[in-house]
């Protein structure tokens, strides 16, 4: 059965006026990503992690030794749930509506993020493909490096407005632009 | 030597060469009636009142640093009696009354300044909680007023009324609250105690407590053994260390609280103000420095210094409350070691050892308590009887289930 209800993104309220041209430093808001919390039960941690890293169409994000986010921009929640239910020793819950995913990229991205997170973003320290839970703009976030100058940030929906405003503020001196990606 | 305008005039004419030392620098005697461990505010006040009120003058105060080197010299100088619970209110009001006559009593101007305190509230729930507190004060005869937003604005127009994340709704106001020059309290009590024969022994660290037949006979110190009939501990953040020498098991954890002072500024903040949407509090000294602080650093610490995150958090709250501070500059930060108790309230009591007395658990509210703490502790030591305003401040209250939990946060000391 299809859903006949209008789905709203929390940042719809924070973006007004015309979309401007995209600058080299840009923040993309992914409109409908699929995000699941995945929890491994006692002594199943390694197996669950392995299964997540081997899964297709899903990018795992590290939260703790027994918790990950399974993120997908390509397949639907149903397919991700099906995949997850095949992992023994894992529990999971759909958080797609509870988390907001943005991607920030550009030549000044490290300088911008240094104002938002405490960790060392040097590529030898926080390598491409790494992800971790951390404070970002006063919110509990998951940050992943998805490219040399590209990071993905996942934050709780209720705080997404504040985080977004602060990211934009910190990007001001670097002419950071923003927009939705469907 | 009595201090007065005349004495200043007279001494000035003779080139200020004839002033006498504020206190002697005695060598310890072999034995005292009472030894007080800790030459901070509470220890010195205890000695002063023992001598003055209870006639016990064969007393030594042992201080491992210099007089007043503990929290009495590193606090934010606030005095008040705006407490919620029956276990605290009468005691702090007794203290405030002693402050009100203190300077003439000990002939030292400690600049007691009852400039009024505003405890701001920012929600209905907070207002109700302050109303409950204010009525608890009023029912005990303590002055308290509940101000609305406009009344607060008239008193402190510079507060953030127009662009606040947590708008100010009003305040609980205690007019008689205020500030005191902190060092002068230690010095005034010390000088008064010395004049009455008390030996103030600085740079004398207690290293052991000697006991025989279940009673204390004296203390080992860096200046040798000193005997006593009664031993009284007023060691604040070091209470556990000293208490352990007598095998006391205490509900105390030491934490660091930072405090700050700004550069000297022309007077702008007339009152003592606390921020209800955070922990920030501020007043302005007679010298012009804004004196302020906020939360403890939350981890166990005996280091008298804090961490940058707490500094930043304090300033964030400060600027949120008083936007005009943004371009003023903070000059100095420091830390004090707080004897946080498990319910946030102090202990003035006997111990399982009959002639060992305990005064601790002041958390970060010890300064305002100094006079009453000294008086009641002296009362306890002298008469072996609890002063009625400290009757709830018992050591065994935790076991019996009679905690005095002002903050309602339970047995986690860093939450009080």
């Amino acid at each position: 059965m299809s859903i006949n209800l209008l789905h709203r993104h929390v940042l719809d309220d924070h973006i007004s006026g015309f979309e401007t041209d995209t600058n080299p430093n840009h923040l993309s808001i992914i409109r409908r990503p699929v995000i699941f919390s995945v929890l491994a039960h006692e002594s199943r941690e390694t197996a669950v992690a392995e299964a997540l890293w081997n899964a297709e169409d899903v990018a795992p994000r590290f939260c703790s030794p027994s918790e990950w986010l399974a993120v997908s921009r390509t397949v639907g929640a149903g397919m991700v749930a099906d995949m997850l239910s095949g992992i023994a020793g894992a529990s999971f819950v759909d958080q797609s509506d509870g988390r907001v995913l943005v991607e920030i990229s550009g030549p000044s991205v490290r300088a911008i993020l240094a104002k938002c997170v405490a960790i060392d973003l040097h590529p030898e320290v926080f390598e491409e493909g790494h992800s971790a839970a951390m404070l970002c703009c006063h919110a509990e976030a998951n940050v992943a490096r998805t490219g040399a100058d590209r990071f993905e940030i996942i934050v709780p929906r209720s705080l997404a407005g504040s985080v977004f405003e602060e990211l934009m503020e910190m990007g001001r001196e670097h002419a950071l632009t923003r927009g939705f990606v469907d | 030597m009595r201090y007065s305008a005349y004495s200043i005039f007279k001494e000035a004419l003779s080139g200020n060469r004839m002033w006498k030392p504020a206190w002697r620098e005695p060598q310890p005697k072999p034995h005292y009636d009472v030894i007080i461990v800790g030459g901070g505010g509470h220890g010195l006040a205890t000695a002063y009142y023992l001598a003055k009120e209870f006639g016990i003058t064969n007393v030594a105060v042992l201080e491992k640093g210099y007089l007043g080197s503990g929290n009495v010299g590193r606090n934010t100088t606030i005095i008040r009696s705006n407490y919620l619970l029956e276990g605290n209110n009468p005691f702090y009001e007794f203290s405030l009354k002693l402050w009100e006559g203190l300077e003439r009593d000990f002939n030292y101007n400690a600049m007691v300044s009852q400039r009024g305190m505003l405890n701001l509230f920012h929600s209905d729930g907070q207002r109700d909680a302050y109303a409950r507190r204010g009525n608890g004060m009023r029912i005990h005869g303590i002055d308290a007023e509940l101000l609305d937003r406009e009344q607060v604005r008239r008193k402190a127009p510079y507060l953030n009324f127009d662009h606040a994340r947590f708008p100010i709704m009003g305040a609980l106001y205690q007019k008689r609250a205020g500030t005191v020059r902190h060092d002068a309290v230690a010095w005034g009590y010390g000088r008064g105690a010395d004049a009455r024969g008390v030996d103030l022994i600085q740079h004398c660290e207690v290293t052991g407590i000697r006991r025989e037949n279940g009673l204390v006979t004296g203390v080992e110190t860096t200046k040798g053994f000193i005997g006593c009939n009664k031993l009284a501990l007023a060691a604040a953040g070091n209470t556990t260390t000293v208490g352990r020498m007598a095998d006391l098991e205490l509900p105390i954890e030491s934490h660091v609280l930072q405090a700050f002072v700004s550069e000297g500024l022309k007077p702008v903040v007339d009152h003592v103000i606390t921020y209800g949407a955070g922990h920030f509090y501020i007043s302005q000294s007679d010298k012009g420095g804004l004196v302020f602080g906020a939360e403890i650093d939350f981890y166990s610490s005996y280091a008298q210094r804090g961490n940058l995150a707490t500094v930043e958090h304090t300033m964030e709250e400060g600027v949120s409350l008083i936007p005009g501070l943004s371009r003023a500059k903070v000059l100095r930060s420091w830390g004090g070691v707080m004897d946080m108790s498990m319910d946030g309230s102090p202990i003035i009591d006997r111990t399982p050892i009959d002639n060992l007395y305990l005064n601790c658990g002041w958390c970060y509210g010890g300064f305002k308590a100094t006079p009453a703490s000294g008086f009641c502790f002296a009362h306890l030591i002298a008469k072996n009887e609890t002063h009625h305003v400290t009757r709830f401040m018992r050591l065994d209250r935790f076991e019996r289930g009679y905690t005095i939990d002002e903050a309602g946060r339970g047995p986690q000391p860093n939450l009080h």
Binding site: C63, P65 | E253, D297, L308, A309, P411
Partner: protein, 93 residues
């Protein structure tokens, strides 16, 4: 310490990411233990000056409770262990 904690799961993080719960040494007594043991567990603290074990909750990170062993006078950190591991090690002793 105080400024940075190296979380065994997340790496070096600032104090702001943690919430500090308190002494890690007291062990919750068995339900049948004496009243005195329960009183001591809930209310009495060793509060030593020096080496100290303390629970730090990595709330903005892995959400694990960690036991930070450190000197509370110099603020030197000796080690950080996941609390479950710490309890297990304690139980083995």
């Amino acid at each position: 310490m105080a400024s940075l904690i190296t979380c065994p799961h997340c790496g070096t993080r600032p104090k702001e990411e943690f919430s500090i719960r308190g002494a890690a040494a007291p062990k919750r007594p068995s339900p049948t233990a004496k009243d005195e043991a329960w009183h001591v567990y809930v209310y009495v603290r060793d509060n030593p000056k020096g080496r100290y074990q303390e629970y730090w909750h990595h709330v903005a990170g892995c959400r694990r409770f960690l036991v930070v062993e450190r000197d509370n006078l110099t603020h030197e950190v000796f080690g950080v262990t996941d609390a479950a591991e710490f309890e297990r090690a304690g139980a083995d002793e």
